[in-house]
Every structure is written in structure tokens, then in C-alpha cells.
């Protein structure tokens, strides 16, 4: 029984494989089995939208609009209809109640799913008020770091058994506030693990989840600005264990358009003199961002994108985020770009994006999960740079600066997807896990 369970939770290249080498080779994973997406922050606007959306698509009530990889049916990705969504939340509401609060989906959409959603309640998430003020309940989790990790892993195993499939984890929780990454415990795996043993206060909930995943052979995607899997200690652990990780901070609205337009301005040699970006949004995310520490983390991931796309720094690049309740989950991103053209003449481009945060984010989270699973089945571990197009601050294997240009990222994603599907063996061979 344990063997069966483990096979479904873990992947080739995960730690399990080393202990049960014969199992994986006799039963290679395929895209036809179920894939469970365990979401941290399931009851949030993005999580409930993803859960409800997958259900609507499964029932044939909605097409796959907005899912970037829907048109690539020939690739080895798990079909949307095989996805199963579950996860953790700080709040105990069932998914129907939670979705109604967020007001992303309309009454009609929720009514049809009422039976399905009302019966689904998230697991209790790991909570630590030091890392996320504003939206958190009034109780921190009890138990040692090691106990919490073990609990997460048991939940993942149970989920895998339940769906008779594999599992990936996607972090959609509210932004944790900034940490001092240079700190020793974040730099090396050994120091990090000692800090775990000592219940060090520098270890955030997101890090506990990431560690639980990596050491359990479960791919981990970080859709939030939190630094968890990005710290060198976990990045190198993921590479050694051969577990794919990806992050961070989903590239949805304003930064998406910024990384589309800036490279084009560069191609036309239109010099960006200043770029003013302001956002108004009224969902739980916006509320969390009222706390300066969380905002700092968020702005950090937006900062150097422009320099990267343009090839020079823009001193007057301002990014503002405003909590503005009338919009709810509907977000408005207004940009003004001052450019100089031929002979120094000045022009302006203004962009107003009336978007829906969760409607943009949910399908990206789903695609990241599908890609992580593909990588795992291919035996690709460590930071998956090819998924950069999905993130505001793409992680790199060695911490060097990533590419931010949307066009280049998209080209790389398509290259990677096709490479994987065409030559699985060779690719898998590149990622043979080194001894830990």
C-alpha cells in the first residue's frame, strides 16, 4: 500500500526513486493519470477560481479560454480534465462560501457548482503571524518545524491516494513579508536544516511547505512574491534531489504588459525617460499589501524588470499599489510611459488595463502545475528556468539575473515544451540526481 501511494506522490528523480528503483522503471508515469494540485491558500480568490474553473471545464460548461497552453494539445501535458484541486487555507470556509466572498465568479457560475464546492474544505494551513499580517487568523500553528513538515507530507500522501495520481504544490498564499536573504540559514542546506531542527524563527511557513515538498519528491511552484524556494538553501536542495521548482510571483497584469512593451520600445530605440505604474485593487491581496513589509516584497519583484528589458536603468520608474475597495478583485493598472524618440522629441504612452486579478492568475497557476508535472515525469529537477514567462521574478538555477522580455520567455517556453515532448529520454538523462 505504501509503495502504491508513494508512486503516485513522487516522481522519477525524487528521493523515492532511489529507494525503489525498480518501481519507477516498470511503471513509467504518463499524462493520462490524474494530477492533484495542492494549493497553499486554496480559499483565496485565485485558489477558488482555479478550483471552480477546472470543474466548469471538466463539465464542458466553459471552454479553455485564458489557459495559455490549451492550444498545444499534442504535447505531453496532463489534460485539464485530469486535474484535481485541493489545498490548505488559514480560514476554514468551504470553497463555495469562500468563492462567494471573493466575488470573482458570478452567481450563475457558482450555482451550478454549489454541490461540488460546498463539500470541499481546505486543510488547515501553517500559520505564522510574524510573516503575514493583516489577513491572518488569530492563531499561529503549534508544533515544531519538523512536525509541521511531516504533517504537510502526510496530507500530500493522502491526497495522492485519494485521487489515485501524482501531486504538485502551488503556493498562492498571501505575500509573506521580506526576509534578509543574506542570512546564513538561507544560504546553505545544512544551515537551513539545523535551523529547522532548532525551530528558528527565521523560517517562514512558505519555507516549511517548500522543504516538505522537495524532500518528499513533490514539485513546488511559487506563485507569490515570498522568497521560500528561492533561497539558495532550498534551490540547491531541489537540484540535488531532482525535484522541479519554479517561481516566483505570477506575471499577470501590469508586469505582463510591461515586459511585452518595453522590449518593443527598445527595438525601436525609443528611450524610456520614465515609467509610472499605479494599481488600484480591493481584494485580500491588496489588503495584505497595506502592510509595508509585504509591500516591500511585492515591489522588490517588480523593480528591475524594466532595466532588464531595456538594457539601461530608468531612474524614474515608479510602481505604486493602492488598496481601493470599490474594485474588489477587479484590478486597474494604469501606466504612463514617457519616451524620447528621434532628435529627442518626447512622446507618451498610457495604458489602462481593467483586469481581473484572479481571472488572469488562476490559469497561469494551473499551467505552472502542468509544466512542473511534465518536468518531473521527464526527470528534470531543480529550478525550471524555462517557465520564466509565467513569473514576475523568474528564479534561475544559480541566482543570476533572469530574462524578463515576454517574447524571449515565450520562445523559450515553447522550445522547452517541444524539446520535452520530442526527446524525453535525453532530457531526463541530463538531470540525474546527484547524491545529496
Amino acid at each position: 500500500m505504501a509503495a502504491v501511494l508513494d508512486r503516485k506522490t513522487h516522481y522519477l528523480g525524487g528521493p523515492f526513486e532511489k529507494d525503489n528503483p525498480t518501481l519507477s522503471s516498470t511503471l513509467p508515469p504518463t499524462n493520462q493519470s490524474n494530477l492533484g494540485i495542492a494549493i497553499i491558500g486554496l480559499g483565496g480568490a485565485v485558489g477558488t477560481t482555479a478550483a471552480a474553473g477546472i470543474e466548469l471545464i471538466r463539465r464542458g460548461l466553459q471552454p479553455t479560454t485564458g489557459l495559455p497552453l490549451a492550444e498545444f494539445a499534442d504535447l505531453d501535458l496532463v489534460p485539464y480534465t485530469n486535474l484535481k484541486i485541493h489545498g490548505w487555507d488559514l480560514f476554514d470556509h468551504d470553497l463555495l462560501t469562500a468563492a462567494r466572498v471573493h466575488r470573482v465568479l458570478d452567481r450563475e457560475e457558482l450555482d451550478v457548482l454549489a454541490n461540488d464546492l460546498s463539500g470541499r474544505r481546505p486543510w488547515t494551513a501553517v500559520s505564522n503571524r510574524n510573516y503575514c499580517r493583516g489577513v491572518v487568523g488569530d492563531q499561529d500553528s503549534t508544533g515544531t518545524h519538523r512536525e509541521l513538515i511531516s504533517g504537510i507530507q502526510q496530507q500530500l500522501d493522502a491526497f495522492a491516494t485519494d485521487i489515485d495520481g501524482r501531486v504538485v504544490v502551488i503556493n498562492l498564499a498571501s505575500t509573506e513579508h521580506a526576509i534578509e536573504v543574506a542570512d546564513e540559514i538561507y544560504q546553505r542546506t545544512e544551515a537551513f536544516e539545523r535551523a529547522l531542527d532548532e525551530n528558528h524563527t527565521g523560517i517562514s511557513p512558505a519555507m516549511l511547505y517548500a522543504y516538505a515538498c522537495i524532500t518528499h519528491g513533490v514539485p513546488y511552484g511559487n506563485f507569490t512574491p515570498s522568497r521560500a524556494a528561492e533561497i539558495p538553501a532550498l534551490r540547491s536542495l531541489a537540484a540535488r534531489r531532482g525535484v522541479p521548482v519554479a517561481g516566483k510571483d505570477g506575471k499577470t497584469g501590469q508586469t505582463f504588459l510591461k515586459t511585452v512593451i518595453a522590449p518593443a520600445l527598445r527595438a525601436r530605440a525609443l528611450h524610456v525617460d520614465g515609467w509610472f505604474s499605479t494599481n488600484i485593487l480591493g481584494n485580500r491581496d491588496g489588503e495584505a499589501l497595506r502592510h509595508p513589509e509585504s509591500l516591500q516584497n511585492k515591489l522588490g519583484t517588480k523593480g528591475d524588470v524594466l532595466t532588464n528589458c531595456l538594457g539601461y536603468p530608468v531612474e524614474d520608474h515608479l510602481v505604486k499599489i493602492n488598496y481601493y475597495r470599490p474594485r474588489g478583485d477587479d484590478k486597474e493598472a494604469w501606466d504612463n510611459i514617457d519616451v524620447s524618440g528621434f532628435l529627442g522629441h518626447r512622446m507618451q504612452i498610457k495604458i489602462d488595463f481593467l483586469c481581473k486579478d484572479s481571472i488572469l492568475a488562476a490559469p497561469l497557476a494551473i499551467e505552472i502545475a502542468r509544466c512542473l508535472d511534465l518536468a518531473a515525469r521527464r526527470g528534470q529537477g531543480g529550478v525550471l528556468e524555462s517557465l520564466g514567462v509565467f513569473f514576475k521574478a523568474p528564479m534561475t538555477t544559480d541566482g543570476r539575473e533572469p530574462i524578463h522580455s515576454f517574447g524571449e520567455q515565450q520562445t523559450e517556453l515553447l522550445r522547452w515544451l517541444r524539446e520535452s515532448s520530442e526527446m524525453p529520454t535525453a532530457v531526463a538523462g541530463k538531470f540525474i540526481p546527484r547524491p545529496d
Copy 2:
């Protein structure tokens, strides 16, 4: 003397080469000699901006901002300081007077160039009121088609002699009105030439210029929506004669951004339900567009761009152009894009581009000229598809639909530029002119 002159006017692959094969091989053209840009519509806003701009850059009074290829100093393109600008216009004003009327450049810029510009007067352009109402003088050119062509060629020869260099022609004249391309005389070179002999009224001034260039070995770039060099009769003639041609309709403001953003929406599977584009502009171009026939030509080049970038037709794609005098050459392009995302939820993107038509257009015209010259020196003739990024309606060698996605076009341009500079011989070999 004639040989020297011809060498400078014409290129490898041009008709001259066939008559003097040894000359070109003993004296290969380099990017260090002068390049004359003969502009049809020199006195217009774009023409005077290009002429003044090149002069300001030559004098070190302005940097090369806005010139897309300025950063590729390692390529084989003619330096900006070696460019010489002259051309034709329907109006007889000197360039200083003309530039002051357009109000693109400010007093300070023009004052410093007053001596230079006030002494430069365009040649008299070929005029035919049947093809361009609204901005044209009150007299049509006299003379047969063949006489007019011969006159153009003599002017080009004299220009080449004068600057001691090579020459390319760029069409910046006002939009000619639409023609019925299916007509026999536009389909085959022989029929076209017979029509020339008979002074057929179906032949527009732009066609006379294009024919004069192609048969004289002078590269021809069409920055306007006029169909001239695009008709099959001239396209195949250019290929046979090995003369590079490119067009049509410079991609400056709204269409530039459209072809940047639409492919990104596709990459994110955001479905475009409608795209409303409106423009307000008050320059001579705008005035010409008040005439329905010219507008039709203009809108024609904007039409199918979106379908091409998205992969599906957008029935509610509206493009409006409004003549609105308060703006003068300052143009405003306002776009509203209605998109559907995940689960069919609707979002809107609005873009307001406060641009300056001539400031965007002039550097593109200059780069097209430099690229055409490079192609000619490489021996590449016929339609230069690799220059598609500069045009709203890129010509293709065989009339098939071009690529419109800005990112893909830019990648192709860079590939072509590097290919040329790295392997000139091989490339040149591909374009050996076939007997006419």
C-alpha cells in the same frame, strides 16, 4: 566619367553590372562611401524631419535616439554621417520653409540648420491629380510616361555624381488612392511596360518612380500605403533585375503597438472580442485621408494585421482615422481592446499613444534606406521580406500573407542583419540575377 557615376548609382546585381561586369568586381562597394537617399515627398513632415535630423546628427547636436539600428555599430550598414538626403516634392519650398510649416521641429532646431536647409530645394515631383487629391498642386506633370521615367533617372544620376556615392529612393509622398490590382496591366511586366508605352492612365506617379528605380538598379523603399512596387508586374521585375525593394506603409504608431500587444494576448490565450482603434491627427497626411479613396488605401493596410497576429479573425475590429487640426503633426492613437479570459470573464485594455508621426516615421525611413543599400551591396534583389518589421503591410516575394507579429519580425530582421554581415558571399550568391 559615366562609368564612375554609374558605379555609384547602381549596385551589384543591377542592370549596370551586366554591362560592366568587371567594374563591380574590381571595385566592391563598401559602407564607407556616401549614400544618397532620394525622397519622394521631401518637403513633407517626414522628409524634412529626416533631412534635418541627419544634419543634426552629423553635426553632433543630437544623439541617435529613435534610430532602431543605431546600436548595431558592428554591422555593415552605412554610418548615419555618410547619408545625404535630397528628393522631389510637388511644392517648390526650400526645406527650411517647408519644415517651419510642418512644426515638427522646434525653432531652436531649425535656427541652427537655417543656412543648410534654406539652400535646399526639391526637384519637381511627378504629379497626377487623379491619384492624390487634396494636397496636390494645381498642375499635372506634362510629358509621356517614358519621358517622366527618364527624367527621374537623370535626376538620380546627377544626385549620385553630386554626392560621389550610391543612391536609394524612399517614397514618403501622400497616399495615392486605391487601384484595382487585379487589372491586367499590374499583373505582368510585359503588360505594364506596354501600358507605359501607351501612357495608360492606370499608371500612378509612384509606379513611375518604382519602375524608374528598378530599371536603373536603384533600390526602392515604399513607406506609403500606395501600391506601386507591390504590384506583381514590378515585384517580379525587381527580382529579375536583382534590385532590392521593400514596403509598404511604415509601421509607426498604432499598428506598431497593435502588433506588439496582439501576439502577447495570444500567448496568454486572452481572446480578443473586439478592438477599436481611433486616431486623431492634423498634418498633411490627415488631410489627404479625408478623401475616401485615399483612406481606403490606408485602412486596407491596417485591416488583416490583427487576424494575422491572433490566428483568428476579430469581426469587431474597427480602425478610424480623423483629421483633427489642433494636433498638427502630433498624433493621438487611442485603442480599446475587449478581451475574454479564463471562464469567459471580460477585461479591457486601453492604450493612448500621444505620438509624433514624423518623429516616429523619419528614423524608420532612414533605416530602410540603409538596409536596402546593404542588401544591394550584398547582391540581394527583389522583395526584401526581412525588413517586414518596418512596415504595416510587408510585401512578400510571392504575394502571400506576411508575418505581422512585431517580435517575430524583429527576430527576422536581426537574423538577416547578422547573416549579411557574417557571410556576404554566400548570401550574395543566392541572388544572382536571372536574365530579364
Copy 3:
């Protein structure tokens, strides 16, 4: 029975009074009886919104947001809960079916009213395809002009009986195309009536409705750009008969803001160099406006507003209306205003109004009806200039130019409302009907 009926249909000052002078004096009308609003175009987006809205307010399911006079509870206007809505339409759909087509109200709003709306079917409207192409059914009304008028009057009488109250008529039908107002039949009542007798083709359906109302003592409000009650023949008839009429063309979105902002620019001596207004809308109205004749009528009512507010003409005042389906009833009005300030320096104001046509129009139509009723009870007849704030092209008693400044109009409305409520007798005295 007939007397009772008539008393409710007609008002003091109407023709009925002259025949039954004692009745009206013994039973003065109050704001506590029911008021029926008979809408021409009931099944349209505005009509169904008004009908459903009044029902939602009556049931206490919606507050009176958006109803401009809701806060003046002390005035003598009929309470919203006493309003009864019925009317005519070219289409035979019940109101639930019609409302669902327009998609102005959402499913939730319509579900709660389903029983009420599904049982209500409009009377068949007078149809004449010569006056309204595009949205009209395929059959013109049969019968002579006089027969059609008589039919309308019978319907009004039956409505009054049915609700046991008074009736006003509001025209919400699609725009009729322009007529040649100078024509003799529109100038004098006698000529108009002769034309009626002769079934003259120059008489549009809206004129038949207006004539039926005026001669039957029923107030008539024209919310459309159609000229009906504005023609001198009917204007003077209404004055002579002492029947209040008001119009024309409800001032909802773009013109509302224009008449708010333009007077403020004048107060600051900011000179308007140009004003560019464009609209995108996708409802039945927008479709009708695709027909040049109807559009001409519509643009005509938008034209001189700006000159009136500023005190000088703006040559570059452009107003564009675009039929753009993705929006449905949601309209977007985008304005760009070019202004010159101190020392001639140029500035720009851009306004983007994401509005809902019917949501703005329906409450104005309701308030116009309440005011017309108030005027009728006060004995005020003829063109009601004090209602100018509700209209794009306010009618005046003598055809002179109206005031367009929103602030001045609003001040006048409030003055009139308070005047009426404070001194009813005196006011009524001013409007003693002259012999016809």
C-alpha cells in the same frame, strides 16, 4: 364611467376640462393617485430597464440611486411607488424576454421579476419603415393617420382606466431619420392637420403619437432625437391646448459631461482649441445609428452644444458614434479636449466614461414623466423649458436657442420645482389655455 376615465387620463388645462369644467375643480388631481407612463419603445433597453427598475424599487429591492429627484421628497411629485409602466413596441416580446435580450439587467434581477414581466406585452407600435430603418419589423402599420391617432388615444384611455390614474407618454423609440423642418406642413398647425387628413407621407410615427397626446390632454416627453413635438405646428398646438411637452434627446453620458466641463473651462478662460468625442456602443440604438439618416438626426442634437457652453464656436469639434458589438448596452465615451491656457500654452483633458446607456437613461425618462405630470397638475402647458437639464437639445417655447450649461439648467430645474410646490395657484394661473 367615461367621466372617471377621462379625469384620470387628462389634466387641468387639457381639452377635457373645457367640456367638463366642474369635474376638475371638484376633484383636483394630487400626487397620491397613480401615474401611468406609456412608453413608445417599451421593449427596448431603456424601456425594459425603466419598467423593471420601478418594480424593483416598489418591492424595496433597490434604493433610488440614479434617480435625480429622489432626494426631493418634499416636492409635489408622484412617488415612484405610484408609477405604472406600459407602452408600445414594434416587437411583440413580453418584457421578460425583451429584457433578457438587452442584457442590461442581470439574471438575478430578472429572476426575481420573472412572473411580473413575463405577463406584460406591449401594444403594437405604429410602424413606418420610411422613418426608421434597421431595427424595424417587416410590416408598416395599416390605417389612415387619423385612425392610427384614434387608436393611440383609445389605448391611453384604457391604460388610465386600468391603473385608475393619470397618464403621460414618453418616446423612447429608435431615432427616426431627419426631416426637412422648413417644410410647410411642419410650420403651422392647420397645415399639419390638413396633412394628417391627406395621409401625407411627411408625417412620421412620432408625430402621430405627439399629436394624439396633445389633442387628448396627455403630456408628451420626447427622449429621442426625433423631431416630432419640436416642429412649430405641434409646439404651438401644445401651448394652445395647455398640454405640457418636453424634449428632446435624453442627456445621458458624453453630452452630460460635456455640458458640465465646458462651462468650467470657460469660467477659467481656458480656450478650447478642439474637442474630439468618440463613442463605442453595441445596443439596438447603435445599430440604428449605422444608418446615415438616423445618425444625422443624432449628431444634429449634439452639434451646437459646445458653442453654447463656451460662447464661441469650436471649429474642430468632432463627434463620432461607432457601432461596436462587444459592448452591448455598455457604452464607452472617450473625449479628448485640447485647451490653451495662459500665454497660449497647450494642455489636454481626456475623459473616458465607461457608462451603461440604459442605466443612465431610464431614471431620466422616469423623472421627465414625473415632472410633466407635475406641470400638468399645475396647469402649465406648452414647451416646459425648465426641464432642459434632461435633454441634449432642449426645446424652447419659441424655437430660440436653449441654454446648455448643465449647472445653469440644474439651477433652473430646482427653481421650477420649488416654485411649483410653493405657489401652485399663481403658476397655474399663468397658463390659462387660450381658445384653439
Copy 4:
């Protein structure tokens, strides 16, 4: 000579009158003598624009566009050609140098005035780094409060002599940071004067100027958000001395439009759910506002405007000001207004005002000066409420809440202007100064 001088500096109702009663009655002031405007912050963008603008108008090189009262030539206001501008600044630059730094006026405008402006240097302003960080020089003024006041008065006298006319003072200096108005020294004149005697640190430079003016019979207008003349101690002093004062914070761009639009939304019963205002500007003002204390003062004057215009509070009213250098003096104010209409349906209005701060401000400062002078000649003293239309936070005589609606303010201004011109004696009679 002294008498002549004093007559010109001071007004009827000022302290001088009491000492020389016969003088003022025998020589009543008229609008035909010169009026000096002494500007605090003369070298700033607004001050130099006002100075240069008046000079351009005097020379007939510019019309009076942008001057709100230019069209009321029949009133008793001093003609623009009789205005003389001088003042104080923290920086010693001559006006030509200063104007070139601000880049409000273009080279052409400044060239023509070069001789005039280059010879004009401001008096040294009173400086106190405790009240205005960021833009201030590195030295505070020396001398006691009383010495500084006396120095200001001597400068005013000399100015009056020089121009042979009267003088008013307009404060255009950078925003001083917020004070605790409840403090005793600001509440009563006696306490304030004792604080002066003791060189209390709670007294800011602006208060010294205001006190110097009021006790010297010179009208004082406060165009900045600084609280100076608004404190009860000075407000009552001005009333007692019969010296007109007005303020505060010129209503130029965003707040101007806000107070135009909000009352119209109220008139239409469109409920404002939220109003988000953001500004980007890059001039000295913007830089000063980077300091939180100054920003607080600025935002304070923008805060309750909306509540006042709408009649209810808008909890989600956000006002953001961003220092963004690429714009220089060109400011951009972007507003988003969320409104609910009929049946609670949501709409949005977005306004983008591309304005020029100093171009909007300078003419208002000039008109305030002319109105203050008119009031003084009429004998009106104390807070001039009728000038409310010029200010973001209009002062009231007794500190009660002012009217903010632009339309109502404009009506009041016009009423006051006409009242003054028609019945000067009666009005003057109302303001007989009481013994101090």
C-alpha cells in the same frame, strides 16, 4: 513724500487711514493707478511665469487667454497692463535665469523678455528650514521676528514708491509643513503677538509675511497650502484692521475638475463609491512634497472637498502625489471615479488631465491680486469668502466649512464682482474697521 507713498501702499480701511483720515477721502483710489504684486517665492515656476506673462501681455505679444476675469472689462478691476510684479525668493537668481530653470516658458518667449527679466532680482526671502525642507537654501534668516516683519514692511513701502501705486502680497512659496493649529499662540491675536515678541519657534515665515501685511494695510493672498493667514489669530486681526485676505491653496488642476464633476454627479444621483486621484509632477513643488510633513499639509487641503460637493463621505477617496522628474512643470492628474447608478449598476469615469501647473496657477494668482485690490479699494476687509473659486481650501470668516462646488463658487464670485462695481459705498460701509 511719505504721505504719497503711504497712500499708495495702503488702502481705505488699513491702519494708515486711521492716522490720516483726510487723505483717503480726498484722494480715493481708482483702478487706473499701478498695482504692485509682491510675490513670496517670485523665482519659482509660478512666480516667474506670472512676471513674464504680465510683461508679454503688456507688450501685446500675448492675449489674455487663461485669465478668468479678462472678459469682464467693465468691472472696476485694475487693468493687466497696470500690474507690476516683484517679490522675494530664497534663491538669488535673476528672473531670466530662474525662468530658464523651470522650463515653463519656452526659449522664444524668454528671448524676447531677456533684457527685462535679467535685470530683476528678488529680495531675499525669510527662510526657516524648520518649515520647508528640501528646496531651501542652507541658511536661515537672522534677526528677531519683529525685525523680519519690519524689513518686509520697508520692502513693501519701497516697492509702492517705486511703482507709484498700491501693493498686494501673494504667497507662492513652497508648502510649509503642517502645524498644530489648536496651539494657543495661533488662536488669539494677543497670544500670537506675544509669541512674536518672544521669537517663538512656532511662527513660520508665512505667518511673518501675513502679519507684516495685515498690520501694514496690505492685502494678503495665500496661494499655498501653508496655514499662515488661516490661523484664527491672523484671521480676526485682518477683520479688525479691515485688510482683505484670501486663501488657501490655488485650485488649479485635479481639484478644479473634481469640484466641477462631483456636483454634477450629485445632481444626477450617481453615487460615488470611490475616487482615486493620482498626480505625477516633477517641479520644485513636487520635490518639496516628497517630505512627508509638507505632503500632509497638501493632502489636508484636498481631503474633504469631495464630501462637501457630494453631501456624503466617500470612504475610498484616495489622493496620491508623486514626484516624477520626466514631466518637469508639466503635470499629469489621473482620476478614476467609480459610480453606481440606477439599480446599483456600476460605471466608471476616468479623467486624464495633462496640464501645466504654472500655466494654470499664474493667472489665478494674478486675478486673486486684482480682486484683493478691488476689495481693499471698496473697504472690504477680513477673509474674502467670495474668492473661494480660486482655492482648494477656501478660508471662511469664522472657520466654518466652505462651499467647494465650482459652479456655486463661480456664481458667488460673479455676484461679488458685480455687487462691488455697482454699490461701492454701501459695501465699504459694512467694513468699517473696529478698534483693535
